[in-house]
């Protein structure tokens, strides 16, 4: 119990410290030490509860409730003010509706409801804690070097790095709070703090675009927050509980909790940037890369899917579950398509994130044992691999001056180590035998067994699109372009440390996932579903995957680049000027060779994919909520 409190409070204290420290040296030390401590604490927590599988804690304290309410009101006022100041009145309006409802509820009904257990730990929380504690802190470590470059590139502007690091560590604290809160009001409090951190971090560069995008994120997440509040109100008023585990228990025993489930799932959908709310994640790419990595790929958006996965036992073939399944599936399909037409690397990563979150959400919606297994595996693998990719892109951008995939050709010559890490990352996102493929395999099986044929089609087509956009990027990375000088020396050692750790982690997690599955995930599932069921992947297949991974790692180590064949120029119809980079054009002028990937704008234009996805998901959401509310009334 004390470990949990430590995990929530310690990053908060560190955040405050970082807010006041101005020197690089002090900041470096604090961030590094704090990261190690937080990571160690996360591991310690896991070890503590590994055997028992978790515990529920009372943690009485009216003072905590009052404190939270007070902070919420202050934050609401700040948002209201900012909304008016920047003329984003919708933000002010939403917060003016949301917070008063919450306060009214807490003071009236909520006060009377007795909360048995405010906090808890179970194996899913442990998984999330490890992700936040290890990957989150790795990203903070990376930020040290990255933000130095960032400041260097923006040297005309004031140094607001203290604010940046404050927000990053505050965010970590809030995330820990989300995954250990059983009291939904507390969960909501931490949830809103992550919304705020995201808002301030997206707007960090203070450009017009950044401010607009930060408000878009804020508004969409406030919208979700409104859903959250309404869910709490319904739960409190009609079911007389504020606790997540009690809500799940009611559902598992046959009672209908469709309304609060749908509302809470809606909050999860907005936080996880599912369509029609995906544009905030795309817009968030203007933020510094560590933000994109931490908040918008590996951690904050996981809060959204975490909530949905927690709700899984009460989803399934009811209105809430069908809504979630379809929103997830449509998002997966359309976001995968949209990624094909993107050449900005961060946008490709963002669409890929949205798509993978869609897959997790769809699995959460299916709600079966096998589906949730797939969802949790996807969460783990995606967090590791996507953060690796984002951080690599960040480093690449600072060194080659561009985020465009077309400018990354020949990266193998210019930054060989970085290119290798990126290749591992990209392969890790969609290729056998890496983790994401394994999870997708399990997800596919779970989807087939669910009986939702439409979802099967969406997954199948989305997977096809996925391999296309990743492989063409991979192709750019592996191209051996002549005459590329190595410019790797400018990369900070903190960045190298984090990138290599994440790469190793990607591979190691894939190797040990059968173990993770049997000791962390399956016990969780057995506890929640009170049953032992067959996993989507047989253990035989799991071990085959691990063996294949060993082979895929071993082969390059043994044979890559080792040949003593004679090297000849590439074929350019005989007019190669000898350097493999230029050829003699028709007017006897040397012409540079320029190779671009396919973007297939006619088929997969971003705008059209978004329009289709948004319309489809809006129809699903409106229909679902109408039927739910109609059924209740």
């Amino acid at each position: 119990m004390s470990t949990i409190l430590f995990l929530i409070l310690f990053p908060f204290v560190v955040a405050l410290a970082l807010l006041v420290l101005k020197t690089d040296a002090a900041r470096d030390v604090i961030v590094k030490v704090a990261s190690v401590v937080i990571a160690a604490a996360s591991v310690y927590l896991t070890v503590q509860y590994f055997g028992s599988g978790g515990e529920y804690f009372e943690f009485e304290g009216e003072i905590v409730n009052s404190l939270m309410m007070g902070i919420e009101i202050c934050l609401a006022v700040i948002i209201f003010y900012l909304g008016v100041k920047y003329k984003k009145y919708l933000a002010s309006l939403l917060v003016a509706i949301q917070t008063p409802i919450m306060v009214w509820f807490e003071l009236s009904v909520g006060h009377g409801i007795h909360v048995t257990h405010n906090m808890y730990v179970d194996r899913l929380s442990l998984v999330m804690v490890l992700i936040i504690g290890i990957i989150g802190t790795l990203i903070c470590w990376y930020s040290i070097g990255y933000m130095k470059d960032f400041q260097h590139h923006h040297h005309g502007e004031p140094d607001r790095r203290p604010w940046f690091f404050f927000l990053m560590f505050l965010f970590l604290a809030a995330m820990f709070g989300i995954v250990v809160s059983n009291n939904l009001v507390w969960l909501y409090f931490f949830w809103e703090i992550t919304t705020l951190c995201s808002f301030f971090l997206i707007g960090y560069t203070k450009t017009k675009e950044a401010i607009n995008n930060s408000f878009r994120a804020l508004i969409m997440n406030l919208f979700g927050g409104l859903g959250f509040v309404l869910g709490i109100v319904v739960l409190g008023n009609f079911y007389e509980t504020l606790e997540l585990d009690q809500m799940l228990a009611i559902g598992l025993m046959g009672g209908s909790v469709v309304v609060p489930a749908a509302l809470l799932a809606f909050a999860g959908i907005t936080k996880a940037a599912q369509m029609p709310f995906n544009s905030w994640l795309l817009g968030a790419m203007v933020a510094p890369t560590p933000t994109s990595a931490l908040l918008h790929s590996s951690t904050m958006v996981k809060a959204g899917v975490f909530l949905i996965v927690k709700l899984s036992p009460v989803l399934g073939w009811n209105l809430a579950g069908i809504m979630v399944m379809l929103v997830g599936g449509i998002t997966f399909l359309m976001a995968s398509f949209a990624a094909i037409s993107q050449s900005n690397a961060k946008r490709v990563l963002a669409y890929s994130t949205v798509a993978n979150l869609g897959l997790i959400v769809a699995c959460g919606g299916i709600g079966t044992y096998a589906a949730v297994w797939a969802a949790i595996m996807l969460i783990i693998f995606h967090a590791v691999t996507k953060s690796l990719l984002f951080l690599c892109v960040g480093t690449a951008e600072h060194n080659i001056g561009s985020r465009d995939i077309e400018d990354m050709d020949g990266l193998f010559g210019r930054m060989p180590r970085l290119a290798t890490f990126m290749i591992v990352g990209i392969a890790g996102m969609f290729l056998a035998p890496f983790g994401m493929l394994i999870s997708k395999w399990a997800a596919l099986k779970a989807v087939i067994d669910s009986g939702n044929v439409l979802l099967v089609m969406m997954i199948v087509f989305g997977s096809a699109a996925t391999l296309f956009y990743w492989t063409k990027w991979l192709g750019k990375m592996v191209a051996i372009v002549a005459k590329r000088e190595n410019i790797q020396q400018n990369v900070h050692k903190e960045e190298w440390l984090v990138l290599s750790s994440l790469t190793v982690l990607t591979i190691v997690i894939c190797l040990i996932f059968p173990v993770v599955s049997s000791y962390l995930i399956v016990p969780y599932l057995e506890a929640v579903y009170s049953t032992v069921a067959a996993l989507a992947l047989s253990s035989g297949n799991m071990y085959i995957m691990s063996a294949m991974l060993a082979l895929v790692v071993l082969l390059p180590l043994l044979f890559f680049g080792k040949t003593n064949k004679k090297i000849v120029p590439i074929y350019m119809a005989g007019v190669n000027l000898g350097d493999d980079l230029t050829f003699l054009g028709s007017m006897e002028k040397p012409m540079p060779v320029s190779l671009r990937n396919w973007y297939m704008e006619d088929y997969f234009a971003e705008k059209r994919m978004n329009v289709i996805g948004v319309i489809a998901t809006v129809v699903v959401l409106v229909a679902a909520f109408s039927m739910i509310i109609g059924g209740v009334l």
């Binding site: 000849v568 074929y571 005989g574 190669n576 003699l584």
Partner: protein, 162 residues
């Protein structure tokens, strides 16, 4: 018997030909003459090819192209000059832009004169080229490094006329 004679793949290049010989080369692939019977395939890629079939003479523009294509072919390889223009420049020999036949640039193994060379003659030339390929392949097997220099010098002497 080396396999290269059972599966000789061609790259056909038009130097400055009037296309007469080229049409005859393509005619060899048609059902009438059907050189695929011998395993011959027209690949357009020097890296896949064994036989370099050139029509037309050499001029300033295509010297480097011919050299490049020749260099990108892996051993064993033979060059077959098809048509009189490839052999010696033909009626265009005295033109200001024409350097001469293909042997001004790369070593030629088989000459197939004619204007236009008939498909039968071309096939005959290719078959003679197969014989040269056989020898080169055998030489390749023995002492790769030293023999390479030898074959280059020898192929200058081995001029067979169809």
């Amino acid at each position: 018997m080396s396999y290269v004679t059972k599966s000789p793949w061609i790259i056909h290049y038009d130097g400055s030909s009037c296309n007469g010989c080229d049409i005859e080369v393509l005619a060899c692939l048609t059902p009438m003459y059907d050189v695929e019977r011998f395993g011959i395939i027209n690949t357009g890629n020097p890296k896949h090819a064994d036989i370099f079939l050139i029509t037309g003479s050499v001029n300033e523009q295509n010297i480097n192209v011919i050299k490049q294509i020749y260099e990108q072919m892996p051993e064993p390889k033979v060059v077959v000059a098809v048509g009189i223009c490839a052999t010696s420049g033909g009626i265009f020999k005295e033109c200001y832009n024409v350097m001469g036949g293909v042997d001004t640039v790369i070593p030629v193994d088989v000459y197939v004169p004619g204007c236009a060379a008939r498909p039968e003659a071309i096939i005959d030339g290719v078959v003679k080229g197969l014989g040269v390929l056989e020898e080169k392949r055998a030489a390749m097997g023995k002492k790769p490094a030293a023999v390479k220099a030898e074959t280059k010098a020898d192929s200058g002497k081995k001029k067979e006329e169809a």
